[in-house]
Symmetry: C2
Subunit: 465 residues, 2 copies
């Protein structure tokens, strides 16, 4: 064992076994590891650095749209969770329960938060009194727990990290605007920072959040054609406000119920990042959230002046980019493979005779800046092209079933609005569900693809993670 | 109720009732609120913004000293917690236990982490193989739970936010250096960012962390003379490594146990901030962590051009400082009291005739920059002066008891090294404990202030939060 160099081993091919390819990348790029705690993962430094860059970028967007961060307790007393009927039905089955504290049995058991609507409502009841106290635009970064039987790093774990926005507004209109505003923030973040295009729209009644009046979603397609619910934004109306007795005195001097939203994204996004962009050589990171944007690898570093030059380069580039100089005693070949596996966007190799791109030192700064922009754009375009190629249309049920069975991806098809058809489609296709009703619907046919009754909406259908 | 303006009410006087004054400030400056979850608080936007500024500052210092952030599970299986004997004895009594997950009784109960040494060790066992894998310099930002009977916002709550560093090193020397390096980082943060001076040193055997070989501490004095343990840094030797079977192959090709440290600070620091600096008019914030550094309050804002000027001012100052313009329809008097209560360092009042400091517009930027530096220094000096005035020396036990009974503060006194004397002093003074053995001891006498046997160390003694 001693003295052995860590070797970069080949990973499973993406086309051969997508699931194994995914976990290989998680492990070999050192993003996460399994823990001894059932269903919970360890997020390793490289994975967590990606999460920190995502957080910083999103947090800036939240603050620019007027939101403030807060922190609520991680426990929810059972009676509090039960306050809103649909909500408790949705979440209680997957809760972890604390029943003992300080060596004593608790008189009331506490759920480890699966989401925090109830805690926010309890607080809002105390701090909202008049129209002057509205809107309340709060967000929280924390971890939540939803008990899972089968888990996969980032995609489905019993504990995960996320942000949950919870806002209160004087009118339904304002709350609806907020719901769509935050979906737009997510969509922009996906496109501008993660280089990921996505379908967005409204969830059907069947797929909406427990307790919400309307749920909006962003649904990026993974390389293999499977969807990942990438973030959701919910409009609650005044349902929770009524359950919790939250009122405010309006300008009209009368009591009103405020209108509510919530919206969330999580470490699942790292799963999306992997499954949209990466390939058989390992992780591919979009430059804006790459912990290392440029790696400097000196070749023949024992030679006089080589390390000096490399350090000079690192200092110069470090002003504008996140740069790492690897002057460890691993062989250059090992280093090339290592940073390829870790998805570092740009490799600068200093060697007098064997450069890949010949760029004079003084132009390198500008060259790399442009290169990173190009890389981002190319990654986005490739993902968009993949989504286009794997998006199909079905106007008959036979066509729908054939596509579902043979061509992984999204299916655009008309729908009558009845959840019985969703149920039927799911059962007969081995799990194809409605992803969303897009904001801009096409008129593909007059009738529901499943039952033949008059169509109400066009729906994106697909399997999901 | 409707239309009522929120009024800034007077708070309890600090000299009259320090405890009530403290909770008044927490509540009136809107830092935190009680929640319906026993022992847990809600950290409100203004309080959380202070925490974010603290986090950003410390995180920068951690990264500059080579540390990386990670995330470990929030649950610890009971068998894992039991792996290190002293550690489990210290923490098990105050754990919250999850016994049900996903509607099923768990075969092994899970502690909600009170601290994460055991989780880090389990991971380190997997990722440390050779000397090349060392040092591991990891840190984690998260929340932890320690069941408490009596709680006070920020100072003692069943759940609190913190950072916990956990590092592994090839040699004992390196680990010891790390322990002291991180105590220094804490000391610098307290002085440079929080404007808080402190006594630092080593904890006695009796007061050290469960499972540690040595614990170092930073002990700032609150305005009332009571100490607050402001942060601790532990050297573990290879005790945990042996319990967990963590070994590495050295350059000598033999297996060795690595040496370990951990270090932590928490949202308690917000409690220290309040109790060191604030006064009868409310919170006083050191400029570097004030969420609002400058508030612009327009007087007669309905008059032509006043708001325009105020916005101009905000835009100009906003380039260098965190600025808020309050153009709400509250009266200026209300605004003055509000931002005084919230501890905003600088108030800029735009009115043609009644300025407090006459500073031409174009010099305001520089004037405020200097003012903020001065404010920080003055705050630090006042706190240092308070610490000096309330630090006493005792060479006889009578003197010690008299000081403990009548003059709140620190007592410097010699000690024999026997924890029986610490026990006796604690019992006979109603709670005075050893704070630490300072790095630079004075020779005050030859004998222990308590038992008269030969003295081994000078100790700082005092009551604590």
């Amino acid at each position: 064992m001693a003295g052995n160099k860590k070797m970069v081993e080949a990973i499973t091919s993406r086309d051969e076994d997508f699931a194994k390819w995914y976990t290989d990348i998680v492990k070999k790029a050192e993003l996460a590891d399994y823990s001894g705690v059932k269903g919970c993962m360890v997020i390793r430094p490289y994975g967590y650095a990606i999460w920190e860059l995502m957080q910083a970028d999103m947090d800036r967007r939240f603050k620019e749209t007027g939101h403030e961060n807060v922190y609520m307790p991680m426990f929810i007393p059972e009676s509090l969770l039960q306050r809103e009927k649909d909500h408790v039905e949705g979440f209680a089955p997957e809760c972890a329960w604390v029943t003992i504290g300080g060596q004593e049995k608790l008189t009331e058991r506490l759920a480890v938060r699966p989401t925090s609507e109830t805690l926010f409502c309890e607080h809002y009841k105390k701090v909202i009194n008049t129209y002057r106290d509205l809107p309340k635009l709060y967000n929280q970064w924390c971890s939540v727990v939803r008990w899972e039987k089968t888990t996969r790093p980032f995609l489905r774990t019993s504990e995960f990290l996320w942000q949950e926005g919870h806002t209160m507004h004087a009118t339904a209109e304002e709350a609806k605007e907020e719901t769509l505003r935050m979906l737009k923030v997510y969509t922009d973040f996906y496109a501008e920072t993660m280089a990921i295009p996505a379908v967005t729209g409204q969830k059907t009644e069947k797929e909406k959040f427990a307790g919400a009046e309307a749920t909006y979603t962003i649904e990026p397609m993974m390389h293999n054609g499977v969807a990942l619910q990438g973030g959701t934004s919910h409009y609650f109306g005044d349902g929770f406000a009524k359950s919790f007795g939250i009122t405010f005195a309006g300008k009209d001097n009368k009591l009103h119920y405020p209108h509510q939203t919530s919206w969330g994204t999580s470490t699942r996004m790292i799963g999306a990042l992997i499954m949209v962009h990466s390939d058989d050589d390992g992780l591919v990171l979009p430059p804006r959230i790459a912990p290392i944007q440029v790696v400097v690898i000196p070749v023949a570093q024992h030679k006089n002046g080589v390390l000096e030059k490399a350090n000079e380069l690192k200092a110069a580039l470090g002003k504008d980019f996140r740069v790492k100089l690897d002057d460890s005693d691993h062989a250059p070949g090992w280093k090339f493979a290592e940073y390829e596996m870790k998805g570092v966007p740009v490799r600068v190799v200093r060697r007098d005779t064997r450069e890949k791109a010949f760029v004079p030192f003084e132009q390198l700064q500008d060259y790399i800046a442009e290169l990173l922009v190009t890389i981002h754009k190319d990654m986005y375009d490739r993902a968009l092209e993949n989504t286009r190629q794997k998006t199909f249309t079905a106007t008959t049920y036979e066509e729908f079933l054939d596509t579902a069975a043979n061509r992984p991806g999204f299916i655009k098809a008309m729908w009558c609005g009845d959840s019985a058809c969703e149920e039927k489609i799911k059962d007969e296709t081995g799990g194809v569900k409605s992803r969303c009703i897009p904001f801009e619907e096409e008129h593909l046919a007059d009738t529901c693809v499943c039952c033949g009754r008059p169509a109400k909406h066009m729906v994106f259908w697909g399997k999901q993670y």
